[in-house]
């Protein structure tokens, strides 16, 4: 079969670095012009108009933090170097405080139909504590603005386990579930070394794993009550608003990737660009990437590793068609895990039962274990 091809573009710029962020980001806005120049060169080198692009995702960093003309230029370049005629979905990540009418007009003019806001919490004190530049009112205003501009597919990111009370988290959940957003991503806080938040908390996460699991269950129930269905461990959507771009990742689809630290998967090769923005702008284009070929066997493992994160699980026929072998024959431990209630199969799919969704790593470790026990 021919896989879907998506494109991911990384914009590392942020007005300020968030306390929890260990990601590739940069607050030196003087680098913006050169960075976008470089992006353009990189896309020109890897230009491919032979495949229609399925989805497009511009993430960061904070894409909305750079002057609108750069986003405009980027979208023009993408249209020049790739076939965007069949695009199903284009998402741009925005922060509430930097979302302007000018930006939204530019995005809609280019056919961007989805915007993802980093909300994280509705509690202003929490937002300040974790170094966000916006407050809850900014988010409401940005959402309203987006809807007025005709952008009705809106995601809000929420973080579970921030340094705030359980009641604060509950409030975030209640508020967000009743807002006119179509999609909620609820990620568990990960404390990464050398981040401001990690230092402030002395490496101690605010909540233990049991509380995290309780809060996750709370999120699941509340969102479900308000019409958001879980379709992936951390992603909830109203019917028909599942993020196609992310689904393509989970389904072992292919994607081009541009920008510092961006990772892609094209022609059975996974690659990742240098994380260092200075290097990204100075190395020859051909030396930006670290590439790793992925064998068909590994692809089958990835297909299951990623697919089991989906509520629907892995389609057994599709697995057999892609990898030429029955899933149960490929993974000798699958049957045993089913017997133990760690996996279940129905309607031609194998999936993780609802009560085990949050311990998927242990299940995967058992499933992908190449040793018999």
């Amino acid at each position: 079969m021919s896989e879907n091809h998506s494109i991911y573009v990384h914009i590392p710029f942020c007005k300020a670095r968030c306390g929890y962020c260990a990601f590739c980001s940069c607050t030196d806005m003087s680098l913006v012009p050169d960075y976008f120049g470089r992006l353009s060169q990189e896309m020109a080198v890897y230009s491919d108009r032979s495949k229609p692009i399925y989805t497009l995702y511009i993430g960061g960093g904070t894409p909305s933090s750079v002057p609108v003309r750069y986003i405009d230029g980027l979208l023009r370049d993408l249209d020049k170097y790739f076939d965007l005629s069949e695009l199903k979905e284009t998402t741009v990540e925005c922060n509430p405080e930097s979302t302007t009418r000018e930006l939204l007009d530019c995005l809609t003019a280019h056919g961007v139909n989805r915007v993802s806001f980093g909300l994280q919490s509705v509690n202003d004190a929490t937002l300040e504590r974790i170094g966000r530049l916006h407050n809850y009112a900014d988010f409401l205003a940005a959402t309203e603005l987006a809807r007025n501009c005709g952008m009705d597919n809106i995601n809000a990111d929420l973080i579970i386990g921030l340094p705030e009370s359980r009641a604060d988290f509950r409030r975030s959940l209640d508020r967000i579930a009743s807002l006119p957003v179509t999609h909620v991503s609820a990620y568990a806080l990960e404390l990464h070394e050398h981040t401001a938040l990690c230092d402030r908390l002395a490496g101690q996460p605010p909540f233990d794993d049991d509380s995290m699991a309780d809060m996750y269950d709370e999120a699941l129930a509340t969102l479900r009550e308000h019409g958001f269905a879980r379709y992936e461990i951390s992603n909830f959507a109203r019917r028909g608003y599942e993020c196609l771009h992310n689904l393509n990742y989970w389904q072992e689809g292919r994607y081009f990737a541009f920008g510092a630290s961006a990772s892609g998967f094209v022609d059975d090769v996974r690659f990742v660009n240098t994380q260092d923005i200075g290097q990204y702008m100075s190395l020859p284009i051909g030396e930006l990437r670290t590439s790793t070929p992925v064998s068909l066997h590994e692809q089958a493992e990835e297909f299951v590793m990623l697919g089991l994160r989906l509520e629907s699980g892995v389609n057994l026929d599709e697995f057999a068609r892609r990898y030429g072998k029955d899933l149960y024959a490929f993974f000798p431990h699958a049957e045993k895990l089913e017997k133990r209630g760690c996996l279940c199969s129905e309607a031609g799919h194998i999936r993780v039962p609802a009560d085990k969704f949050y311990v998927i790593n242990s299940i995967l470790a058992d499933l992908l274990d190449d040793e018999a026990d």
């Binding site: 990742y249 990742v272 969704f357 949050y358 790593n361 470790a365």
Partner: protein, 614 residues
């Protein structure tokens, strides 16, 4: 011929008269300064230049230096001139701990005399006495040496009196030294020359040599440490051992300990040294055996050593199952110079293939485990120590059981007897109550209490050995702030209400965790073990009940709650390599776990139950 070392000192003089040779060892309680005195003697005789002195030179193993104890006997040759005559002094350093008395008896058999070192501030201790009696049994000349006279708390006259009263030795002329300060070391050397008799072997008789230790060298093969009793041995001599009849070996090297091995031309009657003869198979030599000339053998072997019986047993398994053969090789090599170590293949459902090992005591067990890990770079999982039980079956058989999993079902057992030791605890009077409380807690029977002097009481109890091996020593030390010392000897077997207690993980017995325990003790031991396991077993996808059971009866229960979150949430911009790496790490972690039914148990869990406090 003469062998002169690089400093121009006489190292070996062929045909040296036995009249100028003295073979001796040092016996002392731990901490009384035995190794320090040995260092001083070597320094004084110029065997080691002061600048090359490393504290406790003869304790060459890392473990020995770190713990400040001597485990292995170590020989060294020294030269000392007195009244114009150069004497050859062979010193064999010996261990002090109760577990290693067999090592002591080995060195004693190679000597004619012993220095009895007593700490002037501590007096005569239990272990000193025990070793002293061993020396007397071997007809050794014993020279008391009073050490640490520089300490403000030194009581020289009191110590002399104690030596005379407790051991019956004349201490009036005992050298008074401070090994630490190097004080009066010459007196010790003079006493060795004057008082210890020279060897009385026959140099012309057929070769007869006692193997008192062995070592394995990757290039030279087995190196045997010998005391030549009669005759001579040199390069080219064809030798044979008494116990491994039939095989002969050509001697490739002989030498002395200076203290490093230094080749010489020949070893003859009265000498202490080593022999290499390209012996590749470890089992071809045995400590205690007699070496003789294959062409002209002696008629009778020396009487050798009494076989020592292990008292404490445990299972030793490689943490990585594929290292079984490495463990086997390592045990074989340790056994070479530690005859008291026993081992036989053992299998466990939980731990796979390993060995059931027997030791003289707990310290011995610890030392062996540590040496296996350090010297052979092995990761081990060990099971709880056990003693050997005498099991009378309903069929009228008597079984010796040292492994809980081998215990027959209760219906086939008529009764069980357990080893009892006579334990002597020496303690300052203020801790008598604590010591007696502990002995009482450990199912001890009071025998006697004697005030040795104002500062020391000897408390004697009969206690089941399985209580001693279970944390007794640590508890004793902590209750007496380290002041009490313990000595014990096997007294016999006595019937006990003993049962096998199993640990069940998720309903399945984990064989490696079973123990034999006194019935009354089982409840608290079971609860403690369940608690330890609960902490050591990581949460898994299911709730894991941990139960302690006697037969079908559950006596304790803990629960490892089910794991609820291990998910890695975010997939940054489609970068799945991080997820893959994390998963690989998780898989690696799983490999270090043992599967007990559906439960993954880390190696640490097996070890955690060994560290239970009372």
């Amino acid at each position: 011929m003469q062998l002169i070392d690089k400093n121009g000192e006489l190292l070996y003089n062929e045909g040296m008269s036995q009249e100028t040779t003295r073979n001796f060892c040092i016996i002392a309680h731990i901490d009384h300064g035995k190794s320090t005195l040995a260092d001083r003697l070597m320094e004084y005789t110029g065997q080691v230049a002061k600048r090359d002195m490393e504290a406790q030179l003869l304790d060459s193993m890392d473990i020995e230096r770190e713990r400040g104890i001597t485990i292995k006997l170590t020989p060294v040759i020294m030269h000392y001139e007195k009244d114009g005559v150069v004497y050859t002094l062979n010193l064999i350093d010996t261990p002090g701990h109760v577990d290693f008395s067999y090592e002591v008896s080995r060195s004693l058999a190679a000597c004619e005399g012993a220095l009895l070192v007593v700490d002037a501030s501590q007096g005569v201790e239990a272990q000193t006495l025990a070793n002293c009696y061993l020396a007397l049994e071997n007809d050794l000349e014993i020279i008391p040496v009073i050490n640490k006279i520089d300490l403000p708390s030194a009581d020289i006259e009191g110590t002399k009196k104690e030596i005379e009263d407790a051991i019956g030795l004349d201490a009036s002329a005992a050298p008074l030294v401070s090994a630490k300060e190097g004080l009066n070391i010459r007196d010790v050397l003079d006493a060795v020359v004057d008082l210890i008799p020279p060897p009385r072997g026959d140099e012309t008789a057929p070769l007869k040599a006692l193997v008192f230790d062995c070592q394995y060298d990757n290039y030279k093969g087995v190196i045997i440490f010998v005391r030549i009793v009669d005759g001579q041995v040199r390069v080219g001599t064809q030798i044979k051992m008494f116990r491994t009849a039939g095989k002969t070996f050509d001697v490739t090297e002989v030498g002395v300990f200076a203290p490093a091995m230094r080749p010489t031309e020949c070893l003859s009657a009265g000498d202490v040294g080593y022999i290499c003869a390209s012996i590749k198979t470890v089992s071809d030599t045995k400590v205690g055996d007699t070496v003789t000339d294959a062409a002209r053998p002696c008629e009778q072997p020396l009487h050798g050593y009494k076989e020592v019986k292990p008292m404490v047993f445990c299972g030793i398994f490689p943490a990585d199952g594929s290292k079984y053969n490495d463990l086997k090789d390592a045990l074989e090599k340790l056994k070479l110079n530690d005859a008291s170590l026993t081992y036989e293949p053992d299998t466990s459902v939980a731990l796979g293939f390993g060995f059931r090992c027997g030791f003289l005591g707990l310290l011995h067990m610890e030392i062996i485990q540590e040496r296996l890990e350090r010297e052979f770079d092995l990761d081990l999982v060990t099971t709880a120590p056990s003693v050997v039980y005498k099991v009378y079956t309903t069929q009228g058989e008597v079984l010796w059981i040292d492994n809980p999993t081998k215990l027959p079902p209760p219906t086939l057992i008529e009764h069980i007897e357990e080893p009892i030791v006579r334990a002597e605890v020496y303690s300052p009077p203020e801790y008598v109550g604590d010591v007696m409380g502990l002995c009482q807690d450990k199912r001890g029977t009071f025998i006697d209490m004697t005030y040795l002097d104002k500062h020391r009481v000897k408390i004697t109890y009969e206690i089941p050995l399985n209580e001693i091996i279970y944390n007794f020593f640590d508890s004793l030390k902590s209750r007496t702030r380290g002041y009490a010392s313990l000595d014990y000897e096997l007294k016999g077997f006595t019937p006990g209400k003993l049962v096998r207690m199993d640990m069940l993980l998720n309903g399945e017995v984990c064989d490696a965790l079973s123990i034999i325990v006194n019935e009354e003790r089982a409840y608290s031991r079971g609860r403690q073990m369940a608690e330890k396991l609960k902490d050591a077993i990581p949460r898994q996808m299911f709730e894991i009940p941990i139960q302690a059971a006697i037969g079908n009866k559950i006596i304790a229960r803990e629960t490892v709650k089910a794991l609820r979150k291990d998910v890695l949430a975010k997939c940054y911009g489609g970068d799945i390599t991080r997820k893959k790496k994390l998963l690989e790490k998780q898989k690696e972690g799983k490999k270090r776990m043992r599967q007990v039914g559906s439960v993954s148990v880390p190696s640490e869990a097996f070890m955690s139950i060994l560290k239970i406090d009372d």
